[in-house]
């Protein structure tokens, strides 16, 4: 069973969101997602300053099997990207919720987070997708 920390918010497309409490959030892909993708060989992170719309593509994670888009569930501006992933894409596999974070986004509106799934809903969603 994949790890889904209870202090995070989740999306149906398998991203996690951490509320940093200062108007920014951190985004990554879930443990479940990295298991499905297999060993990552490359992560294309966004440029700082990129404006992103909720539902828009924000990054590309590439494994030996596939290159998949990562979507932002929130609208805002990218304030920082995890440049360390350029040399260590495997961080997303080894530590999806800590070292494997992808980028930080300054929210245009903090109420956007309310619509996201909590850990239990996401775990159920991921399990349903399996079947």
């Amino acid at each position: 069973m994949s790890n889904t920390p209870s202090d995070l918010k989740y999306t149906k497309s398998h991203e996690w969101i951490r509320d940093n409490g200062d108007g920014t959030v951190t985004l990554g892909i879930t443990d479940h997602a990295q298991e499905l993708l297999g060993d990552l060989v490359f992560v294309e992170v966004p440029e700082s300053g990129t404006e992103v719309e909720a539902g828009g593509e924000i990054a590309v994670v590439e494994s030996v099997k596939a290159a998949s888009d990562v979507y932002s569930p929130v609208t805002g501006e990218v304030v920082e990207a995890n440049e360390a992933l350029a040399d260590a894409p495997e961080s997303v596999n080894d530590s999806p919720y800590e070292d494997g974070w992808i980028c930080k986004i300054r929210l245009s509106d903090t109420s956007q987070l309310e619509a996201l799934m909590d850990a239990d809903s996401y775990a159920t969603h991921a399990e349903e997708e399996e079947h």
């Binding site: 440029e47 596939a66 290159a67 888009d69």
Partner: protein, 458 residues
């Protein structure tokens, strides 16, 4: 006999299984008005004997003259061994194998091709080839736009000295992708891209700069200055080069302080016959840091579980069968057969052989230009160093002169007025390593007669 494997009985049984009355019924969803009922424009079939007669008649209409035309396709010697080996059954496959790893021989050949191309261009990485030089350049432009994420303008500077067919092809492919192509003029005296015109864009958001070398006029561009200008302006560089010239010219990977980002070109000079303009193949190389945005296939060398070397397709994850519309390219065919011939050609010639050929082309063109400009009414148009082509001015209409020459079995060059109205009386000539002194003298004598006849006629 129709070459269709299904008998009527086969077809009927298949239709029964899926519950359809006829094959036509399978196309019911196509609106009636869109269906093409007859093929009136296509004549009835002919027998093999009848077709052979027609094709022989048509082949006899081809001009078999002495070729002094270059302009993007070049009459080079191809050792007989090249196509003898290429057309062996083991190699004679025109396309990427779909069970790629089962074809270790093909993959090893492509790997060696890539290694040769990186050596020739001085770049880090080569793909397994593209469709042709012109579409390869269009792919280079699309790749540069993907790579240069800091640039938001999607503006690409295209020198007017770039091959006109390449300019048209790039325009056709990128026009509807919100990419703006901006033409850079050339200096009328030198035939080189005007660096002052380039300087006007300093500080502006320019996504990429194309650098042709040699340019369409045969002239060598100021490639170091252009590459450095682009680097200082956060503009990506795309070199469009003649691969044979790289045997004696500085490779794009060494242009300026840090080399170009992407290098493309037409592979025809490396073992591919001119044959009515194709098939040819395009090549593409780039810096390591850009490899994930490179279209096409790349073959990698690896080891199997027993530690034995083997070859595998690599970086496939961004190709169209996985990424669909988001793929790095959707026209990323490679030209397997042409690349096979080219790899054998390069292996047979070696670096020294290619350099010798390139040097002979340069020397022959210099000799030819010397002979022609000694004639009355013929002058050099540009005062710049060239590789193996030169623009001449004639004191007579070029189209008429070329027609008169062709009647004497001399294919005298390319009329630049077709693409450059400002070069109305200009002729682009080329003498490859195949042209002998006698042949060049024949050209000069014939041209002299044609021009003096024209002068008397006026």
């Amino acid at each position: 006999m129709p070459f269709i494997p299904h008998t009527e009985d086969d077809v009927r049984r298949m239709l029964d299984v899926i519950g359809a009355d006829s094959i036509e019924q399978l196309f019911d969803e196509i609106p009636e008005e869109l269906k093409c009922r007859s093929f009136d424009a296509i004549p009835e079939g002919l027998s093999e004997m009848e077709v052979a007669v027609i094709m022989q008649q048509r082949a006899a209409q081809d001009a078999n003259g002495l070729c002094f035309i270059g302009a993007g396709s070049y009459d080079h010697h191809i050792p007989a061994a090249v196509w003898e080996l290429t057309t062996r059954g083991e190699y004679y496959t025109a396309y990427t194998p779909y069970q790629a790893e089962a074809s270790q021989g093909t993959l090893q050949l492509l790997y060696e091709y890539q290694s040769m191309m990186t050596a020739l261009t001085g770049m880090d990485v080569s793909n397994a080839s593209l469709y042709d030089g012109a579409s390869g350049l269009a792919e280079g432009v699309l790749m540069a736009v993907r790579v240069n994420r800091k640039s938001k303008s999607r503006r690409v500077l295209v020198p007017r000295t770039l091959h006109p067919a390449y300019r048209k092809t790039v325009d056709t492919i990128v026009r509807n992708q919100k990419i703006e192509l901006v033409e850079l003029p050339f200096d009328s005296a030198t035939g080189k891209t005007d660096l002052a015109a380039l300087e006007q864009y300093a500080g502006e958001d320019i996504t990429a700069l194309i650098i042709p070398q040699p340019n369409f006029f045969g002239v060598l561009e100021d490639v170091d200055a252009m590459t450095d200008w682009a680097a200082a302006n956060n503009t990506l560089t795309i070199a469009a080069v003649n691969p044979l010239s790289l045997a004696i010219l500085k490779p794009p990977g060494e242009w300026g302080d840090s080399g170009v980002d992407i290098c493309v070109g037409e592979g025809q000079p490396l073992g591919i016959p001119m044959s009515s303009g194709g098939p040819n193949y395009g090549f593409m190389c780039c810096k390591q840091q850009h490899v994930r945005q490179m279209p096409g296939r790349i073959i990698g060398r690896t080891v199997d579980l027993d530690g034995k070397p083997g070859y595998a397709l690599t970086l496939q994850a961004r190709e169209q069968h996985i990424r669909r519309s988001k793929a790095t390219s959707n026209i990323c065919t490679n030209q397997g057969l042409m690349v096979t011939a080219s790899t054998i050609h390069m292996a047979l010639m070696g670096g020294e052989g290619l350099a010798h050929t390139a040097g002979a082309c340069h020397a022959n063109t210099q000799n030819l230009v010397g002979m022609l400009t000694a004639l009355e009414g013929v002058d050099r148009r540009f005062d710049s160093p060239v590789f193996h082509e030169q623009v001449l001015t004639l004191d007579a209409p070029v189209a008429e002169v070329l027609h008169a020459l062709s009647e004497q079995n001399v294919l005298g060059g390319y009329a630049l007025a077709n693409d450059y109205p400002e070069l109305g009386n200009c002729l682009l000539v080329c003498a490859t390593e195949k042209r002998t002194d006698t042949q060049m003298q024949t050209f000069a004598d014939t041209l002299d007669r044609v021009l003096s006849t024209h002068r008397k006629g006026n």
